[in-house]
């Protein structure tokens, strides 16, 4: 990794009840690059983003963002740090009772005292960047799924953050919408010099735009490196995930008791 880390996970453990989500994860996310976090569904990829944003605290270990230990920050310091973060949620998470324009203007109105003309210009520029300046008067319910995510993307970059996190940006998108999102993530990263963290299980799209990737499974990082390094990774689990094999080190069958007992065949001799 050429660049210095913007985010560091130092031996992070996180549990929900008796279920361990992360078991000693150590990871550096480089500054100014796109990092893809991949892994099967339910491995805690979104949880990882919430740990970065301080919405969850690790059971042990340390999460450092821009030099701050997120889990020890007070409420005000954490909210100040979040002003430098943008997050694109899987659902878009637009506020349904206000228009597209007001959604994008929301962080500006809350955090700044800019004059109305300037807010107007900034919002239209951000909407133009995602190709949706023409939707400014529409309500979120009038947008398609792909458009919703693009408006949410405009809202997440309106404060010109240093870090942007994408939670499953490609899930449920048609090929055109997916292509648009891939292009926008790449362009925004290079144009704004953002540090981008992309959580996804869409392997080809993620590997096509990221500079660095890691794969999480069973609470641990099972592989990390550049996309080329991952494609050549010796681990069978990594290769099973990248090539989408239905059976392998990650078994097709969830552990179950002996089938003969379930089907009432015990004691039946052949």
């Amino acid at each position: 990794m050429a660049s210095s880390p913007y985010i560091s996970f130092d031996n992070v453990r996180f549990s929900r009840g008796e279920h361990t989500i992360f078991d000693g994860v150590t990871l550096d996310i480089p500054r100014g690059l796109i990092t893809a976090i991949m892994g099967p569904s339910g491995t805690g990829k979104t949880t990882l983003l919430k740990l970065i944003g301080g919405q969850l605290k690790p059971s042990s270990g340390k999460v450092t963002v821009a030099g701050h230990d997120v889990s020890t920050l007070g409420r005000k310091a954490l909210y100040d740090l979040r002003e430098n973060m943008g997050m694109l949620f899987q659902s878009g998470a637009l506020f349904t009772d206000i228009s597209v324009f007001e959604n994008v203007a929301f962080p500006l109105r809350v955090h700044t005292r800019l004059p109305e003309e300037m807010i107007h210009d900034i919002v239209l520029m951000k909407l133009e960047a995602v190709g949706l300046r023409g939707t400014r008067s529409m309500m979120p319910s009038e947008l398609s799924g792909g458009m919703t995510r693009r408006v949410a993307l405009a809202r997440s970059i309106v404060m010109d953050p240093e870090l942007i996190m994408y939670d499953e940006p490609f899930a449920g998108q048609d090929p055109i919408a997916m292509g648009v999102l891939v292009k926008m993530i790449r362009d925004l990263n290079s144009a704004m010099g953002l540090t981008s963290v992309l959580v996804s299980h869409d392997v080809p799209e993620s590997l096509s735009i990221c500079h660095f990737a890691c794969i999480i499974s069973d609470g641990k990082i099972i592989g990390q490196g550049t996309p080329d390094e991952l494609r050549e990774h010796p681990s069978e689990r990594v290769q099973q995930f990248l090539t989408g094999q239905p059976d392998g080190p990650v078994p097709f069958h969830y552990p179950a008791p002996d089938g003969a007992g379930d089907w009432g065949l015990s004691g039946v001799s052949g």
Partner: protein
């Protein structure tokens, strides 16, 4: 047997945990200096949706309850030749009891359930999380204006309920059943005390407003963010609010009028 005891223990721990969370939630909602520039428009919008939009159901219910009270009261009082006391009976019943209690029950059904569903849906669609990630505290931005709007609206709605109820009682008693109008109003005026009756009714509705709104916003914020979770939270809001209002009404009545 052991399973039943363990289950009882688990339920107890869940209830205590929920109570603790709701107390911490209330503290975090009310703590901090409100920002008037940002908070006032949010509060006004919520006063409209919680208070103004509840007016129709409160006015219609108040009117009919006042009319029914007058009709029932006339039937009973006329047996003793005391139908002139109908105004006094209607007014005392409304300002002391039915005004605050029925308004609170209507409030829980209309505004409380709407508050829970709205906040729960915002949680399920990640709107609250996205607000947090934008550096905006949803407790101050979403919950606090709704809480204060409910707290302010309830006593006003209860006063309107009682006033409309008294007018409904007058319509039936005076206009329809022919009770002398002077006796209707003068008996009321001489027997209803502003400090003891009206103010105690207002105090009741302030308490009910606090409790009902607290339950509604907490249930929405604490719900499981699924359709079943929101449905369950909405039901809990109506059930818990109704039980809390009826229970607290007994306690407050005992303290205010029971001589304790």
């Amino acid at each position: 047997m052991m399973d039943a005891i363990a289950g009882l223990g688990r339920s107890g721990l869940t209830a205590i945990g929920s109570l603790g969370r709701s107390g911490a939630f209330l503290w975090r909602t009310l703590a901090g200096v409100p920002n008037l520039r940002v908070g006032t428009p949010l509060l006004m919008r919520q006063l409209y949706s919680i208070g103004v939009l509840s007016l129709v159901i409160v006015v219609v219910s108040g009117l009919f309850i006042g009319m029914v009270l007058a009709l029932q009261g006339y039937t009973i009082l006329s047996d003793y030749g005391s139908e002139q006391a109908i105004g006094q009976m209607v007014a005392l019943t409304l300002v002391r009891e039915l005004g605050p209690v029925v308004t609170a029950l209507l409030f829980a059904g209309r505004a409380g359930s709407a508050l829970t569903a709205e906040i729960g849906l915002m949680k399920a669609t990640e709107q609250l999380s996205s607000m947090e990630m934008m550096g905006v505290d949803p407790l101050r931005r979403v919950v606090a204006p709704r809480f204060w709007a409910g707290f302010i609206s309830m006593p006003l709605l209860a006063v309107i309920f009682s006033a409309v109820g008294i007018w409904g009682g007058m319509l039936v008693g005076v206009e329809w059943l022919g009770v002398f109008e002077g006796a209707f109003w003068s008996n009321m005026q001489s027997s209803v005390s502003f400090t003891e009756d009206v103010m105690n009714g207002v105090i009741k509705s302030v308490v009910f407003g606090f409790v009902c709104t607290w339950i509604a916003v907490f249930q929405g914020y604490d719900c499981v963010p699924t359709s079943a979770g929101i449905s369950s939270a909405t039901t809990k809001t109506v059930v818990y609010s109704s039980l809390a209002v009826l229970g607290l009404d007994f306690v407050l009545t005992a303290v205010m009028f029971g001589g304790f």
